[in-house]
């Protein structure tokens, strides 16, 4: 009896003790949960871009547009992708797609980094399409120039690579995380779980959806390096059913333009974009930002403003031509330039005065490939009025459908080859020849300067095992084979885009006595010499 009572007493005391302890335990546990949730929330909502505000050029090359908030992929995965799917790359690493790596930077020019949604995330920025390299000789080191057209980057191939990798069985949460860790990433348990169960499946789904939205690429000629259908992504954002767009409106591939000296362009209200469809520099910047994923609710306004201001500053100039110039010939060329070119292209590489500079030249007189012009339609213009609609000061209201291509100033023209809006003419000297005499096929993607003809070397098929992109302006080769193609000569005689395999690639136009193509060769050489001073 006594023993039983003692036991019960002890038991009860123990229970009371337990109960007291449990209350403490529960309190402690609740506190821990609250702290954990607060930490997770703080981490998840942390939004910190890597910035270089002390160095505008570096900010341009490596800063964020805000697109990484929408489209950024975790840094570890970005670094791992070339090792995970090497078979879908033309060569080794991101470099093989034309990305530029500089010393001391572990990610290429044209990428941004931002801590967002719990990860360092990488995405593209302006410099992906607007920073390039040149070399004096095949043996020289490439010089990186901010603001010049990224004539070596192949966005079409990038899109292909990402899609093919995403659709590969290897693109499963475990192998992707493993590849990221092999590429140097260190993940906490929480990050790994997040990657394995949320992020990687989400990236895979997003890449597959993007592939579908980017199907407009299947309806046009291969862009190759330095070019892209730049209004295609905007149509993809609007989710246009591309199958219903007429073939004649489906080709919108253009060269990436240079971004130097924006202030003089803004000051003269020049018509921007190749067809001059917008005369507002700010609107053009926001529109271009869409290409990096910087949609209205995600755009990084301070960073965009910073870069826009730099683009408009005097510091944003093309580098001077670094090779010898024959001053006598240049002087002769200047007189010819003034007579033939200055009214449309400006007095010099810095003085953009001229009656028709920045104005739209009707397609019936410029007669260059009309496909890009026809690709930008009134229907798209109208719908663009909805973009940035939540922000009255930023809403797109300047887009207009035009009837030709805009006359551009020629600052830094030596770095802007190949020429014309579609990059169909390899050198300035070729552009001064009659359209029929221009090269029907050439190679793009070499960054060695062609000092004689001005532009990039375009006659070399490859280098160090890598092939350059063969650009065909029309069907080249066996006449019998060509005869089986639609529009093999890629003619657009009525100045309206005629569909066909080479549509968009024609090197026609900017041709005739008024354009200097009838001048004797030595005069043309002199003009080339003078243009080196731009």
């Amino acid at each position: 009896m006594m023993a039983a009572r003692r036991l019960r007493h002890r038991l009860c005391a123990g229970l009371r003790y337990c109960w007291r302890m449990r209350r403490r335990f529960v309190t402690l546990a609740l506190l821990l949960i609250v702290l954990a949730v607060a930490y997770l929330y703080a981490d998840y909502s942390r939004d910190e871009p890597e910035t270089f505000f002390d160095d505008p050029v570096r900010q341009f090359k490596y800063g964020s547009t805000g697109g990484d908030r929408l489209a950024g992929i975790p840094e570890g995965i970005f670094k791992a992708l070339p090792q995970l799917c090497p078979e879908y790359l033309p060569g080794k690493g991101w470099e093989s797609l034309g990305f530029i790596f500089e010393d001391g930077m572990d990610r290429p020019v044209g990428t941004s980094k931002r801590y967002s949604l719990g990860f360092e995330r990488i995405s593209l920025n302006c410099a992906a399409c607007h920073a390039g390299t040149y070399r004096a000789t095949p043996q020289s080191r490439p010089v990186v120039v901010a603001g010049m057209p990224a004539h070596r980057i192949d966005l079409g191939k990038l899109e292909q690579f990402l899609t093919q990798c995403a659709l590969d069985e290897k693109f499963n949460p475990w192998q992707v995380v493993q590849a990221a860790e092999r590429a140097g990433a260190h993940y906490s348990l929480r990050q790994r779980l997040l990657l394995e169960y949320v992020a990687v499946p989400a990236i895979k789904e997003a890449l597959i959806l993007a592939r579908f939205r980017f199907r407009f690429l299947d309806r046009e000629v291969t862009s190759g390096p330095g070019r892209f259908d730049t209004f295609g992504p905007e149509k993809a954002l609007l989710n246009w059913p591309f199958e219903l767009v007429p073939a004649s409106q489906s080709v919108g591939i253009v060269d990436f333009p240079s971004l130097w000296l924006q202030e003089p362009r803004a000051a003269k209200d020049m018509h921007l974009h190749w067809d001059g469809n917008n005369d507002s520099v700010d609107e053009r910047n926001r529109s271009a930002g869409f290409g990096t994923g910087a949609v209205p609710a995600f755009v990084d306004r301070p960073a965009m403003t910073f870069t826009a201001n730099w683009l408009r500053s005097d510091a944003n100039q093309p580098p001077k031509y670094p090779f010898p110039i024959d001053n006598v010939a240049a002087e002769h060329g200047k007189a010819l330039y003034v007579e033939y070119c200055a009214a449309c292209h400006g007095a010099s590489g810095r003085d953009f005065s001229g009656a028709r500079v920045g104005q739209v030249e009707p397609i019936t007189s410029i007669r260059t490939d009309p496909c890009r012009l026809d690709n930008y339609t009134h229907a798209l213009t109208a719908e663009q009025g909805n973009l940035y609609a939540a922000y009255p000061d930023e809403r797109f209201s300047h887009f207009r459908k035009t009837d030709g291509y805009a006359n551009l100033p020629l600052d830094g023209i030596w770095l802007r080859g190949p020429y014309l809006h579609n990059g169909s003419v390899p050198t300035v000297r070729d552009l001064l020849d009659r359209a029929d005499d221009r090269p029907k096929a050439f190679y793009r993607g070499n960054d060695v300067i062609d000092q004689k003809r001005l532009g990039f070397v375009s006659t070399v098929a490859g280098e160090a095992g890598a092939k350059f992109f063969r650009y065909e302006t029309q069907c080249v080769g066996d006449a019998a084979v060509c005869a089986q193609e639609a529009n093999p000569e890629n003619r657009h005689d009525a100045n309206v885009c005629v569909p066909g395999k080479w549509a968009g690639n024609s090197n026609r136009g900017h041709d005739g006595a008024a354009y200097g193509t009838n001048l004797p060769p030595e005069d043309k050489d002199a003009i080339v010499e003078f243009l080196k001073t731009f």
Binding site: L238, N386, A390, K401
Partner: protein
Amino acid sequence: MQRIAVVLIAVAVLALAAGGIVWSKYFAGGTQTFASDRDRFTYGSLNGELLAGIPYPIFMILPRVFPDLVAQYATEGYGPAKVGFGGYGAFGLAWEEGQRLPAGLSIKRLGYERVSLNCAVCHTASYRLTPDGPPHFAVGGPAHTLNLQGLLRFLFAAAHDRRFTAARLLPEIAVHFPLDAIDQANYALVLIPATRNALKLAEHELGWMNGKPAWGPGRDDAFNLPKFILTQTPWDDSVGNTDFPAIWRLGNRQGQLLHSAGEAKNLYAVVATSAIGIGSLPHAGFSRRNEWLTSFIGKLEPPPFPKAIDAALSERGKAVFGERCGMCHAEGGARTGRAIPLAEIGTDPEHVRAWRQHDADRMNAVTAALGASHAEVEGAQGGYVARPLVGLWLLGPYLHNGSVPTLSDLLSPATQRPAVFYRGYDVVDADHVGFVSTGVAAEANGFRFDTAQRGNANTGHDYGTDLGDADKHALLEYLKSL
């Protein structure tokens, strides 16, 4: 006591905060500013958004979520090359470059931005002078390209689609609009479901149109709309499909009958009842706004004929006009602005039959009960009103039901007028006066209009058809100048 006071204060603070949120999310705003009267007419609100406003962020992204439905309903009844892309533009709305939405769509903030219709949606003409040329927009002209029925059917189909959920729409909206947590909840729990249900309700109210011939571009069932919706008259089998009219120079129509069949006797009544038709309730500002509209369209002018007119030929045509047409169509003609009895005019009778005096009485009772004054309408006057001709070159296709593609066809005997043609293609036919309605481009881009369908007859108005070719030619030249 102190405790109670604290609780009361806390409750009051919370209630105030909640009230503030409700105010800011559902009521704040309400003003619009415009650079010109033209813009006010084209993009200004008639206060319809209180009753029939769709949240702009939802409206804006619908074509992006349902591109397949745009393609289906923008092209139904049209030729193979009719575009089924380009968002709302695919429905033939007059969309000026640089504007958020097409003419006739107002955006007004009441807590959130709301889209509603105004007069300009049916009364802005869109036209081009060459097949590859840019579109021009004439304020007050008939919206002959507007596929209103297709647009409505698109919205209704979207409302029935499983994609019409917050899970699908919200991410699309969030790309363009910054949404805080309250906004997200508001869209997910209130605005998206409410919009979806409102569209289904609207579809139910428009169910009667499914059994009737298609409106096609540039037309609606003008008086069956108020009959079946506003006055809730039991559905009948009438067909009142009618072309959108131009609303130019209406100040000159005092004392005349208005609408196709004389359903109104003064301009204010036309404006007020039309405003009610797009959801504008007779509340504060209703009559003042309608008076502004009345005076604006009273003086509105059409654009001049865009090509050269042979002055001598036109002068000869003027004489023919005076002799053969002036009595009914000249300014101050004896019968101008009066109803020509059906038996005499001989045009399609369906519109007249669709709207009787008892329908008008019923509508007058409803509009009076709603609080509108001076908004009385009449039953159809037994025939069609002979209108003074203003901006005639942009009014094609002709007759009240748009059954005759060009003026040149109208001057031919009914048996020689085209039995089938294509309408809604926006290229001006300057020779025959009207829009291009035959040929490859018209058939590819236009809506197939079959005059054999009920309400579409191209008979009657057998006037001037006996003239010689020279006189017709001269008359046509003069008609271009009107």
